[in-house]
Amino acid sequence: MASEFMQSDREEELERIRRLEASPDYQEKLKQLREKMNSNLQWKMYTIICVVIGVFLFMLFRYQGLIAAAVIAFFVLYPRYKKRQELFGGDKEDNEHLYVENMLNPIVKEIFPEGEISVNSDFPLDSIRSVIPSSRTYKSYRQISFHNESDLAVANVYAYHTEERTSSDGEHRTTETVQDFRGQVYQMRFPGAFDGHIRVVPTRTSAFLKREVQDYPGTRAGEMKIDTEDIRHNENYNIYCTDELAARNFLNPTVLDWFDKNISQSQTAIYIEDHELYISRYTDRDIFPLPRTLEEIDHLSLMEEYKKLRGEIDFIQSFTAIFQ
């Protein structure tokens, strides 16, 4: 009964999207969107090519080379600059804003009239740091906010640090970016109020001597570490809390079972304080990824984006259903 209702609901949703995409107004918007996104991508590409040619010619012919490069740049970039002026006017927007505002948001509004996707995320950094591995630089972006009863919102998060490496001969030094986290952070209202706070973070054992390795923040001031009755949970997660009773009430069999199911899919961590609940999933990918190539931009379609977005939203809802 429920699945039939859901199916008819989906068909209705699909029909609304199909109608919206077929409307002449939207077709015009879609054409403009593709042109603008293509223009942004091409502008970036040609600018890089011109700079590379410029440097090359300067190295070969010095100032004559630079003049030649400027002439090439004028003939290559100026027509594109004029085209961009026509397309954007004085209001230049990058592809991220264009895609989110003109493609994702209209779909979200059709599914959840109260919902929205924003380019930047407004999650507090301290809360993000509680559910992801310790890192140096944190970036959160493309946030979907449902503005529903549980105030559910999900954002992509990327955290990294840089490391200096020296070559074996000791002559060359390079700086490399090391990814500490790439995935999603969920924020929602915790039903009831939680006394103190709790953090459940993944842990793993090293290949050598099977020692515990934890990339996530360890015991903080005022926290205690507790175990559960679930051996698998104890071997895969560490639990830090400030109120043991509240923590044990929260970690009932259903919640432990939920964690166990998630072990095989991705690293999952939780942080709860008062009414706020944060969950992280290390998926090593973005949700709502931007089209990156000219081909992807040319094939942009509301229906296709709807299907992808619907899939992501369905997963978000089923993943968080236990806490709703």
Binding site: M1, E229, D230, I231, R232, N234, N252, P253, T254, L256, D257, D260
Partner: protein, 183 residues
């Protein structure tokens, strides 16, 4: 001299490893007992709910002289086999209640019965989750007991494989069949 040192060092490492494994197995036993207690607590809650449902069903079916299976309570520190039996008994009684409810639409729609059905549904979820944890613990323990070289430690301690809680009991299907939708 060197040989003696090597022998002593090897003995220390082996004893250290043996104590470590023995403690690990002891921790597993404690975890199994703890998780089993959660199942027992859920079963005790479920027993109370089924007793209430039984009272309501008996009141509706009093003219029918229907004989229900006796609902047996679970004693403290019950073994896994006893817990399995208690679960089977509860499921049996629940399926009988369901059969009565099908013949009495008034019972099916009474507010008290609907509330109890909701409680049973949530207790079934909790029971299923806690059973999965016990069985997962038993699986980890049994794997350790049969895996070499931990099997040597388990054999020395006289440990044998643990029984699983039964996942799919006869009456479970009937429980699932109950229509828990209130609307």
């Amino acid at each position: 001299m060197v040989f003696a040192v090597v022998v002593i060092l090897a003995a220390v490492i082996i004893i250290g490893w043996f104590i470590g494994q023995s403690n690990r197995l002891n921790r597993y036993v404690v975890s199994i007992e703890e998780s089993k207690k959660t199942v027992d607590i859920t079963l005790a809650k479920r027993y109370d709910t089924i007793s209430e449902m039984l009272k309501v069903a008996k009141a509706y079916a009093k003219h029918e002289e229907k004989v229900f299976t006796e609902l047996v309570g679970l004693r403290q520190s019950a073994s896994i086999q006893e817990t399995n039996r208690a679960m089977a008994n509860q499921n049996d009684v629940l399926s009988q209640i369901r059969a009565v409810a099908e013949n009495y639409p008034d019972l099916m729609s009474s507010q008290q019965f609907l509330t109890l059905q909701k409680e049973i549904a949530s207790e079934n979820d909790e029971l299923a989750a806690s059973k999965r944890i016990v069985n997962s613990n038993v699986r980890v323990m049994n794997q350790a007991i049969v895996s070499f070289p931990t099997s040597l430690v388990a054999g020395f301690k006289g440990m044998s494989k643990f029984d699983f809680l039964e996942e799919d009991l006869e009456g479970k299907k009937d429980l699932k069949d109950l229509d828990y939708n209130i609307d």
